[in-house]
């Protein structure tokens, strides 16, 4: 927001400056000198009545811009403003008397040919015949020289030649300060200035407004200001000594003029020296300036508007270019070319990438379809023809076709065309517009992948083991043929890729189902392991024993699927069980040997040991009886064991026969 405001400020700055200029200009043009609280009293009126309300004012015509005649011969300059106001307020008629020189001006008032003058400095000499008002304007005077004199090293005003105007107030001061100086006398400021400019005189004394005015008017160029003369003009009005009432009136009049009015006049005449007092010229100038300003404003607004338009156009152009660039980049990054297939004219047009696609240059962009068909390899001609035929039959909106072409370099390329089909009102396909892409690389990769897939399928199908994989949501991802056969045999139905394997759990007994779920949870936590499972008998299928391995499939450090490998160990398990049973039988035999067979034997040995250790401990009859009983018992046991062993052998042989 702040940025937008600053932009507006910059754009409208010329307009604002012009507006400010016009305001100040208008103030200058239409501002005016005012007087407040001034009124003629009875004495004034009585005195003026004696004068018939008419006063004579002496004009010094050669002191612009303070007091002079304009090109129309009318009184102009700063003094003229005061006199005009004086006349308007008092109703006194002013008669202007033009005196050609300042000397003549002084003589004229001294001789009472005129009643009052303006732009006069007080001097003791003049005080003898004039009554002065207070100074209403002060203008500093300067020593003015030419550039030749100014560049001199040893220049001393005390010995300089001064060009001075007759009867100017500064004369007595100059003569007093520079008694050894030489003075050339002239009647006008311009004469003194030109004399100095020509180098005839070294220095003249002039106020800055006069110098500036004269230089501008006469084109004097080699003038140099040496410094302040320290004798400023203190401008007053003066009347003849015999008219104190007029002095009184003028004093009160000047005192009634407010300071801002005086400043206004000072600025108007002493600061803006280039302005002419001529009303007509001024008006023309005002008009020209106003017209110029108006034109400038219109031009500025137009310029600003145009600039904004240009900026907008530039922005839009940039946006369009960027969009176009993006579009082109997207097209070139995504596709190799854009095609426009006219099914009525039977032409195809390519916008870009022709060389890359077909490996030869062509200035043409549009080709007959017959030419296009020639480069399609014979094996794919039928497929392409079918794709075109299907357009009319199926009203396909998104059309695609993949085929191979033979390039100019006799290389084979796979192309993929994808386009939007336009139909006539009758449903006839008339145009296909779309993109074309060289998919040779991906087609080759796809072929390789297909071959690899076939190999893998052959591998996993060439085993009696069941191999399958399930996703995190327990859906079948892939499986081998044995898995599908087993599922069909066990459930009577098939399990397609993408279907949930959970229904398989439902056919299991609860305890088996819980084991399976527990194993899946382990595997999905990232643990790979083997376990043995029993698949309970169902219908004609007996109990099945299998070694099942769970192998987590990781992706980005997270288990995404489980690969399962089930190896049938039913026969192995049955064999192991038989071996275990046989072992148990052997254990029985061992136990029998230890406890049954050795019981009478131990007794026999104990009798023998007792006879050996303590011969008298048993009587003969007892000895014989014990030994006989024990021997008979032992015989019976051995006979029984022989019979049992014979039956076990027969059973084992029978089992082996059954197995083989």
């Amino acid at each position: 927001m702040l940025f937008r405001l600053s932009v507006l400020k910059i754009k409208f700055l010329p307009f604002l400056l012009i507006l400010l200029y016009l305001i100040s200009f208008t103030k200058q043009v239409f501002g005016q000198i005012k007087s407040t609280n001034f009124a003629l009293n009875a004495q004034d009126s009585a005195w003026l009545k004696s004068k018939n309300f008419t006063l004579r004012f002496g004009i010094n015509p050669y002191w612009p811009p303070v007091d002079y005649l304009n090109e129309d011969g009318k009184h102009a300059g700063l003094n003229s403003e005061y006199i005009k106001l004086f006349s308007e307020i008092t109703g006194i008629k002013i008669e202007y008397v033009v005196n050609e020189t300042w000397t003549r001006q002084l003589e004229s008032i001294k001789n009472k040919e005129i009643d009052f003058i303006g732009s006069v400095n007080y001097t003791p000499e003049r005080d003898e015949y004039l009554l002065f008002t207070p100074a209403y304007l002060e203008i500093p005077n300067f020593f003015i020289s030419n550039s030749t004199y100014a560049s001199k090293k040893n220049k001393y005003l005390s010995t300089a030649t001064f060009a001075v105007v007759n009867n100017y107030a500064y004369l007595s001061e100059l003569k007093k300060n520079y008694p050894n100086a030489t003075f050339n006398f002239f009647n006008k400021d311009i004469s003194a200035l030109i004399n100095t400019s020509f180098g005839i005189s070294d220095v003249c004394v002039l106020d800055m407004p006069s110098v500036t005015y004269l230089i501008n008017k006469y084109g004097i160029s080699n003038i140099v200001v040496l410094g302040d003369a320290e004798f400023p003009w203190q401008i007053r009005m003066a009347v003849t000594k015999s008219e104190p009432q007029l002095q009184s009136i003028l004093n009160r009049f000047l005192a009634s003029i407010p300071l801002e009015s005086k400043e206004y006049l000072h600025n108007k005449y002493l600061s803006k020296l280039s302005l002419e007092e001529n009303t007509t010229i001024k008006k023309i100038l005002y008009f020209i300036l106003f017209a110029l300003a108006t034109t400038f404003i219109i031009l500025s607004i137009t310029f600003i508007y145009n600039s904004r338009l240009k900026t907008q156009i530039a922005e839009k152009t940039k946006e369009l270019k960027e969009t176009n660039d993006r579009y082109s980049l997207t097209i070139s990054a995504t596709f190799d070319s854009i095609f426009d297939l006219d099914l009525i004219q039977k032409t195809i047009r390519f916008e870009t990438g022709f060389l890359k696609l077909f490996e030869f240059e062509s200035k043409r962009k549009s080709f007959p379809l017959s030419d296009w068909k020639k480069i399609i390899i014979p094996e794919d001609q039928e497929e392409v023809k079918f794709r075109f035929t299907s357009l009319s039959e199926n009203q396909i909106e998104n059309w695609n076709c993949k085929f191979r072409i033979s390039t100019k370099n006799n290389s084979i390329k796979w192309l993929s065309l994808n386009g939007i089909v336009t139909y006539s009102e009758q449903g006839t396909p008339i145009r296909i517009f779309g993109a074309i892409k060289d998919i040779s690389d991906s087609a080759i990769i796809q072929q390789e992948l297909d071959a690899e897939k076939k190999n893998n399928e052959a591998l996993i199908n060439n085993t009696s083991d069941l191999i399958w994989s399930v996703s995190k949501d327990l859906k079948l991802i892939a499986s081998n043929r044995q898995f599908q056969l087993a599922i069909h045999a066990y459930t009577g139905s098939t399990l397609e890729t993408g279907e949930s394997v959970e229904p398989l759990f439902k056919v299991l007994p609860i305890e088996e189902k819980e084991i399976w779920i527990k194993n899946f949870r382990r595997a999905f936590k990232g643990e790979g392991f083997k376990t043995e499972v029993c698949i309970p008998a169902k219908d004609s299928i007996p109990d099945q024993y299998a070694e099942l391995s769970f192998n987590p499939i990781f992706e980005n450090n997270s288990v995404q699927a489980i690969a399962l490998h089930l190896h049938d160990i039913t026969e192995k398990t049955i064999h192991l069980n038989e071996i275990e049973e046989q072992n148990n039988r052997l254990k029985d035999v061992t136990w029998m040997q230890s406890h049954i067979v050795r019981a009478p034997l131990s007794r026999l040995l104990t009798i023998i040991e007792l006879i050996k250790s303590y011969p008298d401990s048993l009587r003969e009859k007892e000895k014989v009886s014990m030994l006989t009983d024990s021997a008979l018992e032992l015989d019976k046991i051995i006979t029984d064991i022989s019979n049992k062993a014979e039956s076990v052998t027969k059973k084992t042989l029978k089992d082996e026969d059954n197995y083989s």
């Binding site: 040997q593 230890s594 040995l605 104990t606 040991e609 007792l610 048993l618």
Partner: protein
């Protein structure tokens, strides 16, 4: 020392009793023909005097292992020392017998006079 002989083979029971008397281990051993009898005998002889039990393993109803389990499960004021006397030559039985603290010997029948003489020299026999 109070001596009990447990064996279901009455002939052997008589022979062992003779051996024990003749060897001087006990002049009046108590003969038990099965495990339950042996347990009752142990229960009824709870005194401060130690008991030496010659125990056969393979007996009907309550066998020797069950008698050992009973001894292990109960707390007796008097020590009970068991010598297994069995016809079994199975290492399995020999290893299992080591699990019972009360068993001090595992002897395969026939019992010998030299063995009984050696028993008499042992600390447990001398001190009890």
């Amino acid at each position: 020392m109070k001596t009990i002989i447990a064996d279901d083979d009455k002939t052997l029971l008589l022979l062992h009793s003779t051996f024990i008397k003749r060897s001087g281990i006990c002049s009046n051993p108590l003969n038990c023909t099965d495990g339950s009898f042996a347990i009752e005998a142990i229960k009824s002889t709870i005194t401060s005097e130690a008991i030496l039990l010659f125990l056969d393993l393979n007996m009907p109803e309550i066998n020797g292992w069950e008698v050992l389990d009973f001894i292990s499960a109960e707390t007796f004021p008097n020590p009970i020392f068991v010598i297994i006397v069995t016809s079994s030559v199975r290492q399995e039985d020999r290893n299992k017998a080591k699990d019972y603290d009360s068993v001090i010997e595992f002897v395969t029948k026939p019992i010998k006079a030299s063995f009984l003489a050696e028993i008499k020299t042992r600390d447990f026999f001398i001190n009890n």
